[in-house]
């Protein structure tokens, strides 16, 4: 079942830069979809359009039902935490902005922190956390509203490889446990192959969809998958699609 459809969307910025040209894309409910492309291909812009943070110049974003954007989680490239608030208050923010009572939002925020492996870090300030832990708090904040769509904008790009792998594993676990739909923007072939059921490859200037690749390896995907021949084959395939997109 389709959750949201991007229909013939173009985006031209006020300065005349054409970020997206006639992009169409269906996001199926429950799927893990990666958008793979070089920097400047408009993949972040696409995410912002789906989130409603920007309006398309032409084309539409169609939701399958009236609830629309009511339940959305967004994870930015940076952790984007409020430095003056504890981890718990940061995670509880979306609930606060929606008027959820203090005791309920703190209970739910504590649970969300627990789910990302940060039990016991409720009263800690962002500056006391490592980069990976900050990103976990950011992830907990996106998941605390129990979103049906989770939009992630290169969230792990700034982390070291060991931390990134661990967060990839945990993200897949959370995705499987919650049934949330994920649209994950990345410029890493390896990351997109490891995580996704489907990879949409984009080309740059202006951004267009140039390939749509299904990664059929079943979940759970373990550490062994990372070093398997199957993984290498998928990466080779995704790489060549990306190469074609960049040559076009």
């Amino acid at each position: 079942m389709q959750l949201v459809g991007v229909r013939g969307v173009s985006k031209v910025f006020a300065n005349g830069v054409e970020a997206l040209a006639n992009v169409s894309l269906d996001v199926q409910a429950g799927e893990f979809l990666s958008v793979l492309g070089p920097s400047g291909c408009g993949k972040s812009t696409l995410l912002r359009l789906i989130a409603g943070l920007a309006e398309p110049t032409t084309g539409t974003i169609d939701w399958s039902d009236d609830k629309g954007r009511a339940d959305l989680g967004f994870v930015f490239q940076e952790p984007t935490l409020m430095p003056w608030a504890t981890a718990l208050a940061n995670v509880a923010l979306p609930l606060k902005l929606r008027g959820v009572a203090k005791s309920e939002r703190e209970a739910r925020a504590a649970e969300a922190l627990d789910n990302v492996g940060l039990k016991g870090f409720m009263r800690v300030w962002p500056r006391e956390l490592s980069g990976g832990m900050k990103m976990r708090v950011s992830l907990a904040r996106a998941l605390v509203v129990k979103p049906r769509l989770l939009l992630m904008d290169e969230p792990f790009a700034a982390l070291d490889e060991i931390t990134r792998h661990r967060l990839n594993d945990d993200l897949l676990e959370l995705w499987q446990a919650s049934g949330v739909t994920v649209v994950f923007v990345t410029h890493s072939v390896f990351e997109s192959v490891f995580l996704s059921q489907r990879i949409v490859v984009m080309s740059a200037r202006p951004g267009r969809v140039s390939a749509d690749l299904a990664v059929t390896t079943p979940y759970p995907r373990s550490q062994a998958f990372r070093t398997s021949a199957e993984y290498a084959a998928w990466c080779r395939q995704a790489s060549s699609r990306l190469g074609e997109a960049m040559a076009a």
Binding site: L53, L72, F76, E78, M82, P83, W84, L93, L97, V145
Partner: protein, 258 residues
């Protein structure tokens, strides 16, 4: 290291005072040209009866002006951040007030206000409010754009965004402005009183300095001068401590150096 930070300037201060006293004595300089620190200290104690009320007057004007600067500067900054039109119309006038030398407009204010203490207060406020206004505006605008998006995503209105995002983000900037304004409020209060040149019972430290000059009571002039400096230092230290107290848990400026 904190020990060295406190001890080094104190040792230097004592050495300088001793050098000053030594030069005054060795060269036999008359007290009406340059009094030694010991004579200044003695005068401070002996004339405390006249100096203390003046200190309180100057202190009161300074603190009232600072409070008014916080209220007006802070509120204007918030108003500017909420409405682009208000900012575009009013900000140039705030700048005009800031760049016009206070000594030049003080006589006018004294004529208009028709009340010495009120006119001193207005002068001190005029000098003090701009750093708070401009710093707070800067802070209210220095918000992480991604956090603004997040607030928008979850349907936060202008007021919510102001209270939960813009104000906390502006706090370090506001406190930086406050520290500058604390010193400026004192300078404003003293400068305005020099221009006003008041006599009578409600006179501040600036009048005591003028008066001592007329009467060639130079040791008393030094004593009044030292009280002004000491007041400025205490205001600065208190505001620094307040800033540390409010920011120590999260802001980089309040972190211990490693």
């Amino acid at each position: 290291m904190i020990g060295a930070k406190v001890i080094a300037p104190i040792v230097l201060g004592i050495l300088m005072l001793a050098l000053w006293e030594g030069i005054v004595r060795a060269a036999g300089i008359e007290p009406y040209i340059l009094p030694g620190p010991i004579l200044v200290a003695k005068t401070l104690i002996a004339d405390w009866g006249t100096l203390e009320p003046s200190l309180l007057v100057t202190l009161r004007i300074t603190l009232e002006a600072l409070a008014a600067a916080v209220a007006v500067g802070g509120l204007l900054a918030i108003l500017f951040s909420l409405s682009r039109w208000v900012e575009l119309s009013l900000f140039p006038y705030a700048i005009i007030l800031q760049v016009t030398p206070i000594v030049a407009i003080a006589p006018l204010i004294i004529v208009w206000a028709n009340n010495v203490e009120l006119s001193l207060l207005i002068c001190a406020w005029l000098v003090a409010f701009f750093p708070i206004l401009s710093n707070t505006i800067l802070g209210l605008r220095s918000v992480d754009p991604n956090l603004l998006d997040l607030f928008r995503l979850y349907g936060a209105g202008r007021w919510r965004t102001l209270v939960d995002l813009r104000l906390p983000a502006a706090l370090p900037y506001f406190l930086g402005g406050l520290r500058i304004s604390g010193g400026l409020a004192l300078i404003g209060a003293v400068v305005a009183e020099f221009v006003a040149g008041t006599g009578g019972n409600a006179s501040g430290l600036a009048w005591r300095i003028l008066e001592s000059g007329y009467q060639l009571k130079i040791p008393r002039m030094f004593a009044a001068l030292m009280l002004i400096s000491a007041t400025g230092i205490v205001i600065y230290l208190l505001l620094t401590w307040l800033s540390h107290l409010l920011l120590r848990r999260w802001h980089e400026s309040a972190l211990p150096e490693s």
